[in-house]
Each structure stands twice: as structure tokens, then as C-alpha cells.
Symmetry: C2
Subunit: 364 residues, 2 copies
């Protein structure tokens, strides 16, 4: 078992990575200190791992909320459903919410935990690669609003992240590839040698080579833990983790959180950020091609859906948590392995990027 500590003073916690950890009852008992436990999961994950987890947690007051699967259910209503279940069973604020699922489940369950009686314990058991390498770490919780992604939320750190790499065996290929988009992100924003390693090993990762996957998860978590420790509430450097996200969230909101997975939208968004970086003369054409190549090799989309025009997209990008007094901030690339958050970009060049990537009505 690998252990990576997220250093946040009294809110510090470990990320534990290993095979079969979902069956390790002593590990669960170490972090779940309450009798009252609410497991939050979805209809895809429940048939696979819920029974097993319920048995492991055994001698407790266990309740379960099973939500439908998908980003479009990451709503205030789903959060309220968890809370209603907890109140119906008289759960106290000393109870623990356990998120058994991917990023959507972790985000909703974490937000419910942040708000239930003003805060309960919260344990992350991520079951997708994306959740394991990114969303389960760092305490960002949220639900979506029809006008913008992750617009209602809280910073609420878990007591631990327990990553059982065995669950990747049941993950479908599309989910695996979506998770790899966020893995590639770490290389792009701050780790040039990891990006080179990914270029060499992307085939093995797609072939689910065990050791290679564990290395990628560990490396990603170390990058994320470093950044979160430096800037828990995103007043600065943490925003780098948003490479591709202003573009990507606009795609997700434009699609009403249907059809595309988060990692897919981020893949397209990262290439668009790279394209704008090149137009700004920050990034070489060759580097943009390298980025495009690894995304294509991973079979990730690199063009926004046809239903979203450049004009739509610019509109949707205006609602972004990095914006300040009406000015958009973007994460752009100085080079592979060196990203910067900036509002010093040329709006005409942004329009060029949007026009060149999007179908439909152009920005003139």
C-alpha cells in the first residue's frame, strides 16, 4: 500500500493506494469513527461493490443513498436527497458520509457532508480513475447549476481517500480514458518528465498494465497533494489544476451535463488552451502537436460538440470561478510542464481559437 499525505495542518489526511483496500475492514475502522454511516453511491457502482462494503462496515447503523449515474444528477436535489435520508434516520453531525463512486458521487456526497448539520466526517472511496487521480483529493465539493458547473459548493476535506486499484478492472474503457485526461493534465501544468513518461507509456496505461497504472495514480496524487497543500482554497497556484477547465466546463454546461464525461470535456479544453497559448506565441507548434497526439492516442475528443458554436462557448465561459469583476482568467501554457493563470491574453486570439475549434456561428 502506498501512502501520500495531504498536508493541511489539522485537516491533513492520507491518500492510501493499493489492491483490495475496499476489503480492508481495519483500514475502514481506522477512519470511520461513527456508528452512523451514510454510503452514497450510484446505480452503476452499487451492484458491483455495495454489498461488499456493507459487509466490511458491518456492525454499524448503515444507510445507503443510491443516485442515478451521471453528471446531470450532480444537483442540489440529489444533495437534498442524501440529507433527507440522514434526517429520516436521525443521523447526528457525528455521523460519517462515505462516497463510493466516481467524481460525481464524491462531489455530491462531499457537499452533503459539508452542509449536513454544518459538517460531518467524510470518506472518499473513489471507483473511477478520474476520481482516484483528481477529484477525490483536495476537498473541493460541489453540485452543478444549470447556468454553470460546480457553482454551488464548499471546501470540505475528507478524513481519508482510500483507493482500491482493483476497481479499475470493472471500469469501462471510456471512463479509463476520461481519467487519463486528468493524468495528462499534471504533466502539462508542472511535470515535464511525467509528460514524457506518459508519451512513452500511454499504450500500457490503455492496456491496463497494473504497475503502470499504479505509478500514474501515485504520481498524479503527489502532484495534486503538493498543490493543495500550498493553496487549499485556490487563492493562487491551485488554479493551475484548472487547465482546460474554463473551456471544458463551458462544454459540459452547454450540453446540460449530458453525453460527455468530465475528462472528455477537459481533454478538448486542454487542447484549446494549448492552441490559444500558441497563438499568444507562448507555446511552440510542435508542443501543441505533441499534446494533440497524446490526447488522440488516448482516444479522447479534441473538438467541442457541434451543437456549441464559438459564440455560445464564449458566453458560457464567462461564468467561471476564476473570473473577477467580469474578466475571465485562463490557464495557459508557457511550455509543456509550465502553466500560468492569466488574464493577459488577447481576446481576438481567444476568438480565433473558438472559431477554429467550434462549428456554427463564428465570433466576428
Amino acid at each position: 500500500m502506498k501512502e501520500i499525505q495531504v498536508e493541511l495542518g489539522e485537516r491533513s489526511y492520507p491518500i492510501l493506494i493499493g489492491k483490495g483496500l475496499l476489503n480492508d475492514s481495519s483500514l475502514m475502522n481506522k477512519f470511520i469513527l461513527s456508528k452512523q454511516v451514510m454510503i452514497v453511491t450510484n446505480e452503476t457502482i452499487a451492484p458491483l461493490y455495495l454489498d461488499q462494503l456493507q459487509q466490511i462496515l458491518g456492525n454499524r447503523e448503515l444507510q445507503t443513498t443510491v443516485l442515478p449515474d451521471g453528471e446531470k444528477y450532480k444537483t442540489l436535489d440529489s444533495m437534498n436527497e442524501i440529507i433527507t435520508n440522514m434526517l429520516s434516520h436521525r443521523f447526528s453531525r457525528n455521523s460519517c458520509i462515505v462516497a463510493l463512486g466516481g467524481g460525481v458521487i464524491g462531489d455530491i456526497a462531499g457537499f452533503a457532508s459539508a452542509c449536513y448539520q454544518r459538517g460531518t466526517d467524510f470518506l472518499q472511496l473513489p471507483t473511477t480513475l478520474l476520481a482516484q487521480v483528481d477529484s477525490s483529493v483536495g476537498g473541493k465539493t460541489a453540485v452543478n447549476h444549470r447556468l454553470g458547473k460546480n457553482m454551488i459548493g464548499a471546501f470540505h476535506q475528507p478524513v481519508a481517500v482510500i483507493t482500491d486499484t482493483n476497481v479499475l478492472d470493472t471500469l469501462d474503457d471510456r471512463q479509463l480514458r476520461a481519467g487519463l485526461a486528468e493524468v495528462i493534465k499534471y504533466g502539462l501544468i508542472r511535470d515535464h518528465s511525467f509528460f514524457e513518461w506518459l508519451e512513452e507509456n500511454i499504450g500500457k496505461l490503455l492496456g491496463r498494465n497494473d504497475k503502470t497504472l499504479v505509478y500514474a495514480i501515485e504520481k498524479s496524487c503527489r502532484n495534486k497533494a503538493d498543490i493543495v497543500a500550498l493553496d487549499e482554497t485556490e487563492s493562487g497556484i491551485r488554479a493551475l489544476l484548472n487547465l482546460g477547465h474554463t473551456f471544458g466546463h463551458a462544454i459540459e454546461t452547454g450540453l446540460e451535463y449530458r453525453d460527455w464525461l468530465h475528462g472528455e470535456a477537459i481533454a478538448t479544453g486542454m487542447l484549446m488552451a494549448a492552441d490559444l497559448s500558441q497563438r499568444q506565441r507562448w507555446l511552440s507548434h510542435e508542443d501543441v502537436e505533441r499534446i494533440k497526439a497524446i490526447l488522440l492516442k488516448t482516444d479522447l475528443p479534441v473538438t467541442p460538440p457541434e451543437s456549441i458554436s464559438a459564440i455560445n462557448m464564449r458566453e458560457l465561459m464567462a461564468v467561471d470561478k476564476k473570473a473577477k469583476d467580469g474578466q475571465i482568467f485562463l490557464v495557459l501554457l508557457k511550455s509543456i510542464g509550465n502553466a500560468q493563470v492569466t488574464d493577459h491574453f488577447d481576446n481576438n486570439l481567444l476568438a480565433e481559437t473558438l472559431n477554429s475549434f467550434c462549428s456554427g456561428e463564428e465570433i466576428v
Copy 2:
């Protein structure tokens, strides 16, 4: 102008109390650092103070959410309405939410501020006595759930509390009396001499004597600021501020947040807590009579509504944020000025208290 500091490290802020502060634009400018400002208020307060506040805030991107008046609107839906308004106007996380109203408005607006893009600035402009002496101070924000009061919320401290005592001139008598219930609470839980002062001065307070009211507000805020500084997130001593609240919240939930004001429910709840304290042989009969006398002089209710039986009430009390693994905790009185949080009370005596105060079906 009086200034009381709430000492919470980097989350410290002042409570400013004085006449005409709502007209003090330099004071507002000191605490509202953003161009984008969302004023949250209700249909009762808006006609009285909204124009004036909008003029004072002048040269900003101002938006307003006017909610219906009343505890029953303290819901997730109202919170979402604020968020929708902010997103529609592309408000960033650097914006400021200003609560212009009583406890209900402060609680909803504060919770919206805690959650909007994971947290914005938040300024309290309390317009009821209850909000001025209690709910605007200390960072507790929440909305109600049909199964329990304040069950969905966050600790989110304001940047300041600006209390204009002129607003009390437009406060109706019933609201004034409800606010006095929370003032009396401070005397009961930790300030015997303040309780004696209240016994002497309750007539002046009801007669709206200016100096007497300001003294009561200041004294209440000092008590609250002391306690909050010691225990921001209620892991211990802060729970004392809940004297009467387990009983009172049960009344409010039982009435579906209609008809009774919060302070009225707390008045009845405090007398019920005193009654149980007496049955526990903690409090003398004479002290219970003193408590009853000051509540009656203030024209506050001292009996639960007839629609709530003892059996209902015990059921409703089980959902309480102080409960732990199914065990209720109550704030009881050792003497006037000395309260304790405890689960060491005799359930039979609690049943006696409930049976003696409630109409309808008794607990047997």
C-alpha cells in the same frame, strides 16, 4: 459608535453598533471591497431600507434578491434563487453578498455566500433585534429542512456586522419581544448580573428606551463574541447558546416554520428547560418563577402550541444538532447565569416536563 471585535484569527471581524450606520457610506466602503454586490432582503424590509442602501452603495454592480418574509421561506429553494440571480449576472466569487434583514435573511444569505462558487464575502446588516443580538454574530448560516430546523448549513463568518439601531424604530412590537427572548438567554446561561439588570429594565426595553436598548444589544453581542471566539464550530461551550433551542426548534419544525417567531419558540423552550432543570433538582422553584415572570412581562409565550403533543415534541426533539449516536443533549440550568450542556438527565423527568407543558396525547 460602539465596536466589538469577534476574535477568530484571520476570520476576525467587528460588530459595529450605532445610530444611522446604514447611511454611512464610508463604513460600507470599508467592508465591501467588490464591485459586484448582491443585496438579499425581504418584502417587509425592502420598502423601508432598500432604496437608501442602494443609494449608499452607489457606484457598483448592484443586484437585489427580495424574498417573501418568514421562517417558512428559509429553504434550499430560496438559497438557490439567490445563486441563480448571481449567476445570471455573472457574479464572480470575489463578489459580496449583503444581508439586509432579520435572522431568516441573514441565515439564507450567509449560506448562499458560503456556497456560491465555494465562498464569497458576506456583510450582515441586521434589521431586527433578534438578528442584532444573536443570529448575525458568529457565522452560523443555514436553511431549514421539513424534518428539522437549520439542518443544512455552514459556518461562514461575515466581514462585519453593521447594526444601525435606528431600524428598531420600525420594528413591530412582536419582533421586539422575540428579540428580547435571546437577550434574556445571555443572562440565563452565563451572566447573572445581566439577568438582574434585565429584570429591572425590561419595562424600559419594551418602551424602546434608546440607551437601554443599546446597552442590551452591546452586552448581548459581547457575550456572544466571547463564546464564539472560544468555540467557533460548537465543539463545546458554544452549545450553551442553544438554551431552549432543542425544545424551541421542535416547536418550529412541528408548526412547519409558520405562525411562531423563532424568539417566541425559544422563550417557551427556555422555560421548559428551566422546568426540567428544576425536576432534576438543579434549579430552585423560585428561579423558575423568576424566569417565567420575565418572559411573561415581555409578553412571550410560555406554553407550546396546542397542536403539538408531548409525544410529537419528543419525536421532533430527536433531530437536533447536539444529538450524538441517538442520544439527545440538552442545555440545562444549574442556576440563573450558569448553564450546562448535558446528556445526564432523567428521561422520565423530561417526559414529565413535556406532559406538563403540552396539550394532547401524553407520554406514558
